[in-house]
């Protein structure tokens, strides 16, 4: 940590002595008012507040307005803006190379649920340890507003075109496929999103956050189910999400009859206070059913739907050495001369 600049007293810093400035990214080139920009801000804050060294973070993305946003937060982190719909594989590869890094992926609903569906499902299935955020606006922003596969049936484009295919509920899907921390939030809901992000940073496994993030240019009108207005009217939190980071010694009281306390991998606690009746964040099948049921009613559930802190993540399953594979010295990756000799003898 020798390179961290020494900070004069007056300036606010986090646990590791960095300022919020150290977590900022480049100037956004997204539309003013785009939900994606708010999410970038929340991400910036969460990493700052959790005191995570930016150099220890990999920011991964596919292609789309959403996928550009890693350029707009945390410039001191390493970033890979890959190809459309294939971020999951790139992120997986990077984590295999260096499992000691934290990884946050930002994708869009088009990038994930259309072209990216195959890789997405398999990332969930592997429980690859990363935070996967879908900035979900129901349309392809960057190609000017076509429906994506998360657009609700009956929702309308500006041009009046109506979507007649069912929406994919990406959270229900993620839970079914094996993700171990699944929730939905709204770019406009600062508090909930921030808390969920911080809790996500304490989880070891795939965190899937579907964040409704209105596209002000192509999908924020009457008839859209992904507009600011629609969200304000139809958002229904399944639970209140509280978070007590491991480095806060404060013991916060909670009512065990209404609240589920989840101890996360780094020792932090997530407190989920039930709002929805059917809520049980540790029952996979139930969580899927709840999401499917509520979706039929046109409501948009938010909150943490499912969390499993027991299932081993993918890098654990692979039983690798502790150090990053990327930088193992030659002595540890090139077997000795005698090994080759023995093998050659076997082929004589």
């Amino acid at each position: 940590m020798s390179t961290t600049p020494v900070t004069p007293k007056a300036i606010k810093t986090n646990r590791i002595g960095l300022q919020i400035l150290d977590y900022r990214g480049g100037k956004t080139t997204l539309c003013a008012g785009c939900g994606h920009n708010s999410i970038s801000e929340r991400i910036t804050e969460a990493f700052y507040e959790m005191g995570i060294q930016p150099e220890r973070v990999m920011k991964m993305s596919g292609i789309g307005c959403s996928s550009k946003s890693p350029a707009y937060f945390m410039s001191r982190s390493f970033s890979f803006n890959s190809v459309h719909g294939r971020m999951p594989s790139v992120a997986t590869g990077a984590l295999l190379a260096n499992k000691t890094m934290r990884s946050i992926g930002v994708s869009g609903d088009g990038d994930t649920a259309s072209i990216g569906m195959g890789q997405f499902v398999h990332l969930m299935r592997r429980n690859v340890p990363m935070i996967y955020i879908i900035e979900d606006n129901g349309v392809y922003g960057l190609t000017k507003g076509q429906f994506s596969a998360t657009a609700d049936m009956g929702s309308k484009l500006k041009t009046g075109v109506v979507n007649d295919l069912p929406a994919i509920d990406i959270c229900a899907l993620a839970i079914q496929m094996g993700a171990t921390f699944v929730g939905r939030s709204f770019s406009g809901d600062k508090k909930q999103l921030s808390t969920m992000l911080k809790a996500a940073l304490s989880h070891q496994g795939t965190v899937l956050l579907d964040v409704i993030s209105p596209c002000v240019t192509f999908n924020d009108h009457e008839g859209s189910t992904k507009s600011y207005k629609y969200m304000q009217e139809h958002e229904e939190a399944v639970s209140e999400v509280g978070f007590v980071p491991y480095f806060d010694d404060i013991a916060v009281e909670y009512d065990a009859s209404t609240t589920v306390d989840v101890q996360l991998h780094d020792g932090s606690h997530m407190r989920l206070r039930k709002i929805h009746d059917d809520y049980n964040p540790t029952d996979r099948a139930n969580a899927v059913k709840m999401l499917m049921d509520v979706h039929e009613k046109g409501e948009v559930l938010t909150g943490v739907f499912y969390v499993d802190t027991q299932k081993p993540d993918f890098t654990t399953l692979l039983n690798m050495v502790d150090e990053p594979l990327a930088t193992l010295p030659q002595e540890r990756t090139r077997p000795g001369r005698e090994v080759l000799t023995a093998i050659m003898e076997a082929h004589l």
Binding site: T3, T4, P5, D22, G26, Q53, P54, E55, R56, M58, M60, P70, A71, S75, R76, S77, F78, S79, F80, N81, S82, V83, R86, P88, S89, V90, T92, G93, A94, L95, L96, A97, N98, M101, G118, Q119, V121, H122, T315, L318, N319, M320, V321, D322, P324, L325, A326, L328, Q330, R332, T333, R334, P335, R337, L340, T341, I343, M344, H347, L348
Partner: protein, 617 residues
């Protein structure tokens, strides 16, 4: 000149040490079976027993694209002169498959021998062959083996029959069987017993009346037998590969399957922890994506695939080129689309891979022609990938990858790994930062940092080509053009780093031959034939990499006529040469093409060149 226009001619019989009646150590054996019948280990015993007698051999498996029940032919070429290319004509047939027996017999060389199950009644088909009817089922029963494994035992019976008829030393067979079943003593005994039953049957019942025999030599001492995919896996392991995402596809699967076995043995530490991650991806798009992710994060990463999978990698391959990310991709070539001939060999991915992806992309390709090169280039590819910061393709083929080849043993890598231009925190501190895409050294290769490098100036933003030298987003025409020119310079640098071609011949002949990959083996044999039969001395250059090095230009310049021999329809190597060579040289080039899915053979090459030389005179 295409395959069907030429029919192979029989080899002139070579004089035998035993006298004129025998053809010694110079013939080929074909075992015709169905796949799934477990004949592989029997065939391997046959091959290795002859090898153990010091006689050069090669084995080629011609198998169908299914799992069990379809015709399969295993061919063993015995060649005292060390020729290991496919030989079109078969001298000794072991006919175990009723379905193809007729056709198999009809296609034998005159004077050939047929070992067959007596029920097949093949001896009426032709009068110019030596027939040996064997009651295989009955003999298998004699072995006392369980009914369950009698089918397998039958295979070992034909080994014994062949051993006796061809004078293969039982001692060699015994050693081979014991080595092959090293960990299963009981199985070894069972198999040996079956061999003996076959051997004894011949001894007691049949009289040899064909000329084919083996005699001990000393031409294989110290040599190994291995397939190219195992060799490539070895190369990768010793190259220190760490991340291996893959998706199964014939004929590349065994690269990774061998690697898995090797790594489990040699790359797991005392605590049982692996210094690698091998992951079966959901498809090839994911495999190459993981390779790029891992390469970006600093790992030595590879995948292996074949045509259809390579096609799926096109977009990512371009990203790898533009974003300058190391990675190694083995393409073990096969024929056609998935519903083409997936179990036949080919060299037809060359031009596609050379420019795979839309836009102005160019890829570095290594072209192993021997199993040893599968190993060496397997090693080399990782150094090149990290030095050049780009995906490296290694183009093998089914013939090389899945068949057994003799080779000098492989050498332990003496050079330390070259991990390329990577800056660490201290260097960054000294330099006061870096510009990711700046051509500091004039070789087109920029410096990079790895994720996790602990310095506030270490990070950069990776995207395709829409960036300036500092890796910042830009759409400025000048920046774009400069970057593209630097990438072209980098490709020029590759010319200095890739394996050079290998020249054979005096270098002073008028006629040259160019080939690559497995075509090599047919070409070297053909050169001998041309010299002997057509009094045509040739020089031969084997290309081992793309981009082309200076030697290739020089070779063409120095010869009056150059034949480019390859195993595809569209003259792919010739096409790449046409693009790169000095145009005044191009009139000299002539194409010889073989593309029916079988490995090319020397007679085909010889006939094509001889005809063309005749015409050209």
């Amino acid at each position: 000149m295409t395959t069907s226009q030429l029919s192979a001619q029989a080899e002139p019989a070579t004089q035998s040490a035993r006298g004129a009646n025998y053809i010694v150590n110079d013939f080929s054996i074909q075992i015709a079976t169905v796949n799934g019948s477990g004949s592989q280990s029997a065939n391997s015993v046959l091959l290795r027993s002859i090898f153990r007698m010091g006689i050069p051999v090669s084995g080629k498996n011609l198998f169908p694209s299914n799992i069990a029940g379809l015709p399969t032919w295993y061919t063993i070429r015995v060649s005292k002169d060390g020729w290991v290319a496919r030989k079109a004509h078969i001298d000794v047939l072991i006919a175990m498959n009723a379905e193809t027996a007729r056709e198999d017999v009809l296609s034998l060389s005159a004077g050939g021998a047929v070992i067959y199950d007596e029920s097949l009644k093949l001896n009426e088909l032709r009068s110019d062959l030596a027939y040996y009817a064997v009651p295989f089922d009955q003999l298998a029963t004699t072995t006392g083996a369980d009914a369950k494994i009698r089918k397998l035992v039958k295979n070992m019976v034909y080994v014994g029959v062949a051993a006796k008829l061809l004078s293969i030393d039982m001692e060699a067979v015994e050693q081979t069987v014991r080595k092959q079943f090293a960990k299963k003593v009981k199985a070894a005994e069972l198999n040996l017993n079956a061999v003996r039953v076959g051997y004894d049957y011949v001894a007691s019942t049949l009289t040899k009346h064909d000329p084919y025999v083996v005699e001990r030599m000393n031409a294989t001492a110290g040599k190994i037998i291995i397939d190219g995919n195992s060799a490539a896996a070895l190369g990768a392991m010793f190259a220190g590969v760490t991340v291996v995402p893959w998706y199964p596809i014939t004929p590349s699967s065994s690269v990774v399957e061998n690697l898995i076995d090797l790594m489990k043995k040699h790359r797991v530490d005392a605590n049982g922890k692996a210094s690698f991650a091998i992951v079966q991806a959901e498809d090839e798009l994911a495999a190459i994506g993981m390779v790029l992710g891992a390469g970006w994060a600093g790992a030595r990463s590879m995948t292996a695939s074949s045509g259809p999978g390579i096609s799926l990698m096109a977009e990512f391959a371009g990203l790898g080129y533009y974003a300058e990310i190391p990675g190694v991709i083995f393409d073990v070539q096969r024929t056609g689309p998935s519903t083409g001939l997936p179990t036949r060999t080919s060299q037809a991915d060359l031009t596609f891979v050379a420019g795979i992806s839309h836009g102005d992309t160019k890829h570095v390709i290594l072209l192993p022609g021997t199993v040893r090169e599968c190993y060496e280039f397997g090693l080399e590819a990782f150094d090149l990938a990290e030095q050049l910061q780009t995906p490296i393709f290694v183009l093998s083929d089914l013939d090389l990858g899945m068949n057994n080849w003799m080779s000098e043993p492989f050498e332990y890598p003496e050079k330390p790994m070259n991990r390329g231009k990577v800056l660490n925190a201290e260097q960054l501190e000294k330099l006061g930062g870096f510009a990711r895409y700046k051509d500091v050294d004039g070789d087109g290769i920029p410096y990079r940092t790895l994720p996790g490098t602990d310095h506030p100036l270490a990070a950069y933003f990776t995207r395709g080509s829409g960036h300036n030298e500092k890796a910042l987003y830009t759409e400025r025409p000048e920046d774009y053009e400069n970057n593209m020119l630097r990438l072209a310079r980098k490709f020029d640098t590759a010319k200095k780093l890739v394996p050079k071609p290998i020249l054979q011949g005096t270098g002073k002949e008028k006629v040259g031959i160019i080939a690559f990959g497995t075509t090599h083996w047919a070409v070297i044999e053909s050169r001998m034939q041309l010299e002997r039969e057509n009094q045509l001395a040739t020089d031969y250059l084997r290309i081992r990499a793309f981009p082309f090095t200076q030697e290739i230009h020089d070779f063409v310049a120095k010869h009056d006529r150059v034949y480019v021999v390859e195993q595809n329809r569209d003259a792919q190597m010739l096409s790449l040469l046409k693009i790169d060579l000095d145009p005044v040289q191009l009139v000299k080039l002539h194409s010889i093409l073989h593309f029916n899915g079988l490995p090319i053979d020397a007679r085909f090459v010889t006939a094509a060149i001889a005809t063309h030389q005749g015409a050209g005179k």
